[in-house]
Symmetry: C2
Subunit: 698 residues, 2 copies
């Protein structure tokens, strides 16, 4: 019994002691890190110039180390929270808190006076070239342009070197940290639900974001006018600035809410609506804000209304968005699936994964190089990769790519949020104006409301599966602002207006992430949103269907009498459009781009025979007999399938199918269905499942 | 039969057509990319300054895109080579060839004249601060120091903007690309073989590298003297420069050879010797070169011999190397294993992987921040992680971390090699001197010979398992120069001497990678190096042992009579030292840091009871009865185990163990062995395997 005793006490002690020890270790490392930062500068005098770069590199390492340790601390605490099942604070909220704490220490705890040598040299020249050659007593040094600094900043900058050191180039967020986040969102989009609610999602993303942007812009303009009246405005603030603010705070970030949704297995339609909306409205907000910035009337006063300029901005919006969309979809669908389809790359998973990664990255770079928006392109690239390329990958590579982008997303996201916390204290040009802040909170709230409720009402006119009022409240509540809003607002903080926007945006993000994010669980139970489908899924899963796979039964609208679960039925919006798209995708795109789908030789007209044979992969013939189309469950319209299990009977409206007989040869059934003018498309999964269970038992 | 026909013809056509199509696609993309690059500059005039940064960003994207597409092309061709089993050209050699081609196009095909606005502004000032504020008609712009440019470069730089654009900051290699490569090397070191040949590896790495460095340095100094005599030297070239050259070309890179070894499953001892040597001598070369640079006599002439300065350099070498080593080992072993041991992080693989990644990265940053060498620290960090932390990870995270670093290593390596090819044409200050080049090739050859042959002779005096002469020839042949040599030589190309070194180094790398790398298969068969152990392994594997796992039987020295395979026996060098280390590691470090090993309560003296109980993980008690020590197969000395399978009999010298009876309780046997004064340590794997097979059948 002695051993059991030791074991128990060891376990107890280790649990409680670990976090303490670890936190102490990390705090010690952090302080070492600060010390290193501090020590550099004092020793910096009378050293030759060459060494300066080395010193600066050491300091950069130390600065970066601060962030890495911050992230480590965050991860450990996340673990503790997950372990204890705390749900009132999400990891991103936590990252912000740690960022805030370190920010306070950096701001008030450490003061590193700026090295005098660094300040100097306001050589007066005529232009600001990207590269500058400086002649220092015969030796030439090359300098690169970092950016403009406002006049009042010049003195600030000299104040505290430390704060300046931990300030990253804002472009880092756009070019390094956001792309993996956005790509991951696209890549992990639950496609079935996404396509099923496509109409509503597009409406929320496009109409909703624009509405929200203008409402916020107008309200803020009123607010700014008020401030001008009472003399609280310390600089220029134009209507375009207000609209810009509207655009950036219209980008919602669902990470917190969706993480909880995922854990609680909340209704999949709500999940798809929220996720799809927030992913797409990020893209819309980016393009919208850049076209607002591009608004330049030709007259002297550059902030008046001018129809031509508005039209031009609108044109830019359309051009950039569609360009980025086309680029993201086209480059990927033209190269990556073909590469993975025709080469036997699947034998070498490392090559496959590397190729996948490089192709996705090159889409981003290509979009940026062509003047489109890389972030938008990468989103659609992710969706396309998931839709086509993913099916061609070997199972190992499917796991690898998923895990890789999951990791990159996790690191980037937590980095951004902890940086957000940090920057509240380390950013040196905050402009906090109470009126503006109150106005912003109010208008953000109203803008979200003006987005969700009217649109839901309009959409409900067309949807059979209505967006119920508690769903609407939940969507209203889940309008958090996050990484994208932050990245957009920090991108340019040169003017007074932009600085005020940045400070206010930070507060909006903090508030929504902590309050709305933390209250999700409560809100869900308050709105009586239960995991209705999830329960069914779980039940089915127990029977034998794998719900993790994309082709789970969750897309079916089950009607189960005796269990008392609500009867649900759906009418897809604009189903004919999707049926068209689905037919095209299934018959032509899928066979061309992937191994799945019917062989092209069967779907293309006879005259295209040679081409069809050339484009069809050998596997397609082998697959022909099988049901191997993961995404065939796109549409299920008009027909209601009612499924009772226990004693299995599936009935499609009117006709009752008795299994073991009719459904044994599912592919035949499906072929008929296609002919029945889209009356119903039985989900491949149900078929599989039934084949496995019912048919075998028959 | 029609379908079969279509299938076959489709398969044939797709195979042949794919590469053509893909190459065309990629070439098209590359040219688009070049166009974008070209178009930027011509439109760059009369645009406001703010837009310039944007343009520059677009251009950067296009430049980076060139490299990404290059890598993609490389991957596709690698696939083709692997598919067709071409072994005469390794992927790195291929990457270099593509790099060369693109370099030629950039150099001679595209001429982008430098924008006039960019050239300007040699404002004469007294110092070169890290940050420069420039006052442009009232607005302030911030510039950051990029580096010194030699006077003759100033005019060159203006010549072709394109070439300048594709030139990366040399520090990128050291701070971004090399760390994952080196970490991966450490993490994937086959530890068993590494530790078994530790003495020889250390001798080759330390003594060998220093010998090679000085021999090359001396020979090159002679060469330089000769050049001075006949007036071919166009600038200063001191003895320290020669030594520096010796240091950088002494870093061998085994990727090419080892890849082939791995494929052919060549002798594990040779593999371990080569891999261990090249991994460690990278570290030695880095530190050696930096201490040669630090050599600064106090007198007027800074290139005379001065004992104090030499001692100081030696001190720096020792200090930096041991500092980096200690930091790499200490930070990891103090934090990461504890974190993974005491927290139940293994339930959340994403967190675990992220933490692992961050801890490894922070080791690099910490070393850099403290003024040590991050690359060296990261190597030992990798070894430590593999030795301790790896055992605590969940199986999923073990896979994830391995795959992650494998991918990073692959991408970084191919990037470096393709950049190498590119830079042969795009670097603008090449100094090719025939005498220097011939001298360099000769001295590299002689330096390697003076490293391998004398050391092998000396080591063979102490080794029972001699390094045979064909192994020595193979090691001589496998002394390729690669990424590390390149990164060291490109780091500083400011002076004439350094430029000549850089150009020559490039040629050495090209030659060794193409000729030595390509000829490995021939050389192996020429030297009659067969996969002797590999065959055995394969046989055993067939029987039931998994050779992929770390605890494979390959470490055992098998003596198989009837099969006619050579009888091999080993005497470990300085076995007592390793036995000491092994005992310490097994009894104290492993139990403290991981879940494996005996519980501390058993190994520590009774007085440390509470401490031992606190530090022992709950799992250790559970594992106590089992054999769960993956690395217990470190030492197998003095005793010969002969194993005949077919009818299984294992005999340890003198005593014959008949299985099914004595070996059923393997842990008991082991316990006795430990007591028998290190007479023999039966490999846990053999035991496991026997337990599985022999004992079950008994």
């Amino acid at each position: 019994f002695q051993r059991g005793d030791a074991e128990r006490s060891g376990r107890g002690r280790s649990e409680s002691g670990t976090i303490l020890t670890l936190s102490l270790c990390l705090l010690a490392s952090l302080s070492v890190c600060f010390c290193v930062c501090g020590a550099e500068d004092s020793a910096m005098e009378n050293i030759v110039t060459e060494k300066k770069a080395e010193e600066s590199h050491r300091q950069d390492s130390a600065d970066l180390l601060i962030f890495i340790l911050l992230l480590t601390l965050t991860i450990l605490t996340i673990w503790l929270f997950k372990h204890r099942r705390f749900r009132f604070l999400h990891e991103t909220g936590l990252a912000m808190i740690y960022g805030l704490l370190v920010g306070v220490v950096l701001r008030y705890g450490i003061h590193v006076p700026r090295d005098i040598n660094n300040v100097t040299l306001s050589c007066h020249v005529n232009s600001s070239p990207a590269t500058l050659l400086v002649n220092v007593s015969g030796k030439f040094y090359e300098y690169t342009l970092k950016g403009e600094i406002s006049a009042n900043e010049v003195s600030d900058v000299q104040d505290n070197e430390m704060l300046r050191k931990v300030t990253f180039d804002p472009e880092v967020f756009f070019n390094i940290l956001l792309p993996p986040i956005i790509f991951h969102a696209g890549y992990s989009l639950k496609r079935r639900h996404f396509f099923r609610n496509m109409g509503s999602i597009l409406a929320f993303a496009f109409v909703g974001t624009v509405v929200s942007c203008f409402i916020i812009g107008l309200l803020m303009y009123g607010c700014v006018m008020l401030m001008k009246q009472i003399g609280q405005l310390g600089g220029d603030f134009f209507f375009t600035d207000c609209l810009f603010f509207g655009a950036i705070v219209s980008a919602t970030d669902p990470v917190t809410v969706l993480a909880i949704f995922n854990e609680l297995q909340v209704d999949f339609d709500l999940y798809a609506l929220l996720f799809g909306e927030s992913v797409l409205n990020d893209a819309v907000a980016v393009v919208l804000s850049s076209s607002i910035v591009a608004y330049q009337p030709e007259g002297d006063n550059s902030h008046t209304f001018e129809a031509m300029a508005v039209l031009k901005s609108f044109g830019i919006f359309l051009g950039v968005f569609s360009g980025s969309f086309a680029l993201g979809v086209a480059t990927v669908s033209l190269t990556c699936p073909h590469v993975t389809k025709f080469t036997k790359l699947r034998d070498f998973q490392l090559l496959e994964t590397a190729l996948f990664f490089l192709m996705s990255w090159s889409t981003f770079l290509l979009a940026e190089a062509c003047g489109f928006t890389g972030v938008v392109a990468v989103l659609f690239c992710g969706i396309t990769q998931a839709h086509y390329t993913y099916n061609n990958l070997s199972p190992e590579s499917q796991d690898r790519t998923k895990q890789l982008f999951e990791l990159l997303n996790f690191l980037a996201e937590n980095f951004i949020f902890s940086y957000m916390g940090l920057t509240l204290f380390t950013f040196q040009n905050h402009v906090f104006n109470p009126i503006f802040i109150v106005g912003a909170f109010l208008s953000v709230f109203l803008g979200r409301a003006a987005n969700i409720y009217p649109l839901s009402f309009l959409l409900n006119l067309g949807r059979r599966n209505k967006i119920s009022s508690n769903f609407q409240h939940m969507m209203m509540f889940a309008g958090l602002r996050g990484a994208m809003t932050f990245a957009l607002s920090i991108r340019d903080t040169a003017t007074y207006a932009r600085q005020m926007m940045f400070s206010t945006t930070l507060l909006v993000v903090f508030f929504t992430v902590w309050i709305c994010g933390g209250g999700t669980t409560q809100m869900l139970s308050c709105q009586h949103i239960r995991q209705n489908e999830a329960e069914l899924l779980h039940e089915l899963e127990r029977v034998g269907v794998d719900s993790d796979q994309d082709n789970s039964v969750s897309g079916v609208f089950l009607q189960i009498g005796p269990d008392g679960i609500e009867r649900r039925s759906t009418k897809q919006e604009s189903a004919w459009l999707f049926r068209l798209w689905y037919n095209f995708d299934h018959n032509y795109l899928k066979p061309i781009l992937t191994h799945s789908g019917p062989p092209l030789t069967a779907t293309l007209p006879a005259c295209c025979g040679p081409l069809a044979r050339c484009l069809t992969s050998p596997q397609a013939y082998e697959n022909e007999g099988q049901l191997k189309d993961d995404d065939s469950d796109l549409i299920l319209n008009d027909g209601n399938i009612s499924l009772t299990y226990g004693d299995i009977t599936v009935s499609t409206d009117g006709e009752s199918l008795c299994f073991g007989t009719e459904l044994t040869c599912v592919s035949e059934l499906r072929a008929c269905d296609w002919l029945q003018e889209g009356r119903y498309y039985v989900l491949s999964v149900i078929c599989n499942w039934l084949q496995k269970n019912a048919c075998q038992s028959a």
